[in-house]
């Protein structure tokens, strides 16, 4: 045990805080007045791009969220204050269902794909022969377009499909997967876990960066593979874990394509837009609700209000997460 503790100390030393930053004003002179126009000129494409394609849509979204604007309407647009927000937050709103479903994904999907990617990376590193082949195999799903992978899973997870057929060989009656309200979200988690190759590559890179000497020291001290992982690998790759969780969290708030494609293909007799959230709104997520209200029911102002609330939720969760991890580990900003 003490040996492991010593190893942890080495890890702590390796990941020690960087030297203190230099305080005070930079000696570098600010651009001269004659240089400023040139700087602005060269930056103008970027500034205009950000202003038009980032800042304006955000500001317009906030503005529309306080109007009764309908896409396609020639009626005058009225300012309605916070009415749209009140409707979103009213008890009969589907936004609550979408919020609950999104929260479910945050709780189950993000940890599942992070842990699976970490496990696969760890496993691949331990393979002595054919490592490159397995690395490629596990990364390949990340290269498949989302729509294609979603459709493949629709076939795979059909109640009469190959997976249930295989389960029946061992006496298990497979569920209805995407067609069953209770199983629809877990099925989406399976799709997400299958396609987590990009995160796996990040973990792989992080694990390759851990100094071998740490493992050699641990082995000499008799640490098991699990203890090596827990006390060396995990602390060393925690910046990657932080990144994977925070980007996974943001991506989950924006989760749309797979749910849309899968629900749309659940009934080829109804329009795809009518099936959003199928079955029984179990796959209705925040972005699906924005799409449904904005592009199916044309309630642009109302949809903008949901979008603003989702933005605030993402922002709040990100800040809380960064704050929490900074307090605990010193990530997400300046070291403590």
């Amino acid at each position: 045990m003490p040996a492991v503790a010593d190893t942890s100390a080495v890890v702590a030393e390796q990941t020690a805080a960087p030297p203190p930053r230099r305080r005070g004003r930079s000696r570098r002179k600010s651009p001269t007045r004659t240089a400023k126009p040139a700087v602005l000129l060269f930056l103008s494409p970027l500034i205009l791009g950000i202003a038009i394609f980032k800042l304006y849509p955000i500001a317009a979204g906030v503005y529309y969220s306080m109007t009764d604007f309908h896409v396609g309407s020639y009626q005058p647009v009225h300012f309605v204050g916070l009415d749209n927000y009140r409707h979103v937050l009213s008890s009969s709103s589907d936004a609550w269902t979408a919020g609950r479903n999104t929260l479910w994904l945050l709780i189950f999907l993000v940890p599942a794909q992070t842990l699976w990617a970490m496990f696969v990376a760890w496993l691949v590193l331990r393979i002595r022969r054919g490592q490159a082949l397995f690395r490629t195999i596990f990364f390949l799903p990340a290269m498949v377009p989302l729509v294609a992978s979603a459709l493949a899973f629709v076939v795979l997870l059909n109640p009469a499909g190959p997976l249930n057929h295989a389960l029946s060989w061992v006496g298990i009656t497979g569920p209805g997967w995407f067609g069953d309200p209770s199983w629809a979200k877990p099925s989406l988690v399976i799709v997400a876990v299958w396609g987590c190759g990009k995160i796996m590559i990040l973990f792989l890179a992080g694990m390759l960066n851990v100094p071998r000497t740490l493992y050699e020291a641990a082995e000499i001290d008799g640490a098991s593979a699990w203890r090596q992982f827990w006390h060396i690998t995990l602390p060393s790759i925690s910046p990657v874990t932080f990144f994977a969780v925070i980007t996974g969290m943001i991506a989950t708030f924006q989760y749309f394509t797979e749910a849309y494609v899968i629900s749309a293909s659940s009934n080829n007799n109804s329009g795809a837009d009518r099936l959003i959230g199928y079955p029984q709104n179990s796959t209705l997520f925040a972005t699906s609700e924005i799409y449904k209200q904005g592009f199916v029911f044309f309630k642009t102002g109302y949809a903008s209000a949901i979008a603003v609330l989702v933005f605030l939720a993402v922002f709040a969760c990100t800040i809380v997460f960064i704050w929490g991890t900074r307090r605990s580990y010193g990530y997400g900003g300046e070291s403590q």
């Binding site: 600010s30 500001a59 309908h70 069953d180 009934n267 009518r274 029984q280 199916v296 044309f298």
Partner: protein, 464 residues
């Protein structure tokens, strides 16, 4: 360190830049939406067909028409119809774009560049477009047009596109939802005629259900789940003699007992099969409702609720199935005359309010929706029911026994479709979700007031 300080310098510059950008962006944010709002207010002044010189001396006009058609045979039929229009009015050319939705039309309208004519798949957005000034009121154009539309087009079809006494679109074909039944399986079960009430349907469904030695269902009689195939139309009111809203616009789902009876019938049949078995059926077959894997064609279900286009699919994929088509049974206790009605849905043709050639666009619309040959050819291509009296008489498929009850139902004055209101179908969507919960036991009759309130709120929000 130099690099670090350089970066810090850049950050400072970026912050300064951002500070300068802020007022510009804020101004843009305020000005551009307002500009968009300003450009999208008001509508084109109306024109009269009387003023259109339909002779060859008319200056050439080219119109843009969008259609929901996406299959090649449908697009071919559209093009053939437009060729006939051009032959009649050589000065009038219509450029066609396929695979367009009402959503595309709405976005184009907002952008200020809508097509002159839109052939839409459903009436879902009719009231929204009418209220929002997106489509032109055709009433006065019809009055001045060359065809007596009211005598040509079927009354239920016209009524479906009329609001507050104004005609907002003309129908070009329509859908009628009926009961398909497998004659061979009926004979094997000793059933001599299709059911006329939902109780009879339930009894027949039980007789037609086949289980294997393990108790697993190998053949269903009828699958009533609201999420299955087109079943949502069973719960749209016409088969239970109900309307979603009363005369004052208040939802009736909690006050008209027929809604509750309809849900009880649905739930009891699902319970008879067991939710596990029937949910598996729905999940398995829903993705194949329109292909060779369709369960009715495969004999996995003996009766199916479907539209008229299903005849073409059965002919293509499973031509050996011997089936009949009858009106969908109605809720028990209805008057005997109720049997024979159908949920009917129109495919409307709109004229954009912002069209620069409203009269010419109407002329084209009127021709497409009233010319007997065009309507017949389009109906055949789309596998739909013709929407004019003469087109039904002359239709090559009118003599097909499969279409007999369908045509009668289409002409039945008691037939009607989904509610057309400002919510653009959001209320029906909520109702469908509620029925799904009812079927799974997560909701019961005591929750009907909740869904009524929700529907009321949805429509109120859309109206305000």
């Amino acid at each position: 360190m130099y690099q670090l300080s350089k970066l810090k310098g850049m950050n400072r510059m970026a912050r300064r830049g951002a500070r300068r950008l802020l007022p510009v962006t804020a101004a843009l944010a305020l000005v551009l939406p307002a500009a968009a709002a300003c450009t999208s207010t008001g509508s084109n002044s109306s024109q009269n067909v009387d003023n259109v010189n339909t002779s060859g001396s008319h200056a050439p006009v080219t119109l843009e028409m969008w259609t929901f058609s996406h299959k090649q045979n449908q697009l071919d039929a559209d093009q053939a119809a437009l060729a006939k229009l051009h032959a009649k009015y050589p000065w009038l050319t219509v450029h066609l774009t396929g695979s367009k939705s009402d959503s595309d039309f709405a976005k184009a309208a907002t952008a200020g560049n809508p097509p002159d004519i839109m052939f839409s798949p459903s009436t879902q957005y009719l009231e929204t477009f009418a209220h929002d000034g997106t489509i032109a009121d055709l009433t006065h154009l019809i009055a001045g047009g060359p065809v007596d539309v009211s005598k040509t087009v079927l009354a239920p079809a016209m009524a479906a596109l009329t609001m507050d006494g104004k005609q907002w679109a003309l129908p070009l074909t329509g859908d009628a939802y009926m009961l398909y039944y497998n004659k061979k399986l009926f004979a094997a079960a000793g059933i001599t005629a299709p059911p006329k009430t939902l109780s009879e349907l339930r009894a027949d469904a039980e007789k037609l259900t086949v289980r294997d030695s393990g108790g697993n269902i190998t053949q269903f009689g009828f699958v009533p789940n609201v999420d299955y195939d087109n079943n949502v139309s069973i719960y749209a009111g016409v088969y239970s003699g109900t309307h979603f809203y009363d005369g004052s616009g208040v939802p009736t789902v909690a006050t008209d007992s027929n809604w509750g009876k309809l849900l009880d019938w649905d739930k009891s049949l699902i319970d008879y099969y067991g939710s596990g078995a029937i949910n598996k059926f729905v999940a398995q077959y829903n993705p194949h409702s329109e292909d060779a894997g369709n369960p009715f064609g495969k004999g996995a279900v003996a009766m199916e609720f479907n539209g008229e286009w299903h005849t073409a699919q059965l002919k293509n994929f499973t031509p050996d199935v011997d089936y009949g088509i009858a009106p969908m049974p109605v809720l028990d206790g209805q008057t005997t005359s109720s049997y024979g009605v159908a949920d009917i849905e129109m495919s409307p043709v709109y004229v954009a309010a912002k069209s620069k050639h409203i009269a010419e666009a109407f002329l084209a619309t009127e021709f497409l929706t009233t010319d007997t040959t065009v309507v017949d050819d389009m109906s055949t291509a789309f596998g739909a029911v013709p929407s004019t009296t003469d087109a039904i008489k002359n239709w090559q498929l009118a003599s097909d026994p499969h279409f007999a009850s369908m045509i009668q139902a289409f002409q039945n004055p008691g037939s009607y479709g989904h509610p057309v209101d400002l919510s653009a179908g959001a209320d029906v969507n909520a109702w469908q979700a509620f029925i799904g919960q009812y079927e799974s036991g997560k909701a019961s009759a005591k929750n009907l007031p909740d869904i009524a309130t929700k529907m009321k709120n949805i429509v109120a929000q859309a109206t305000n």
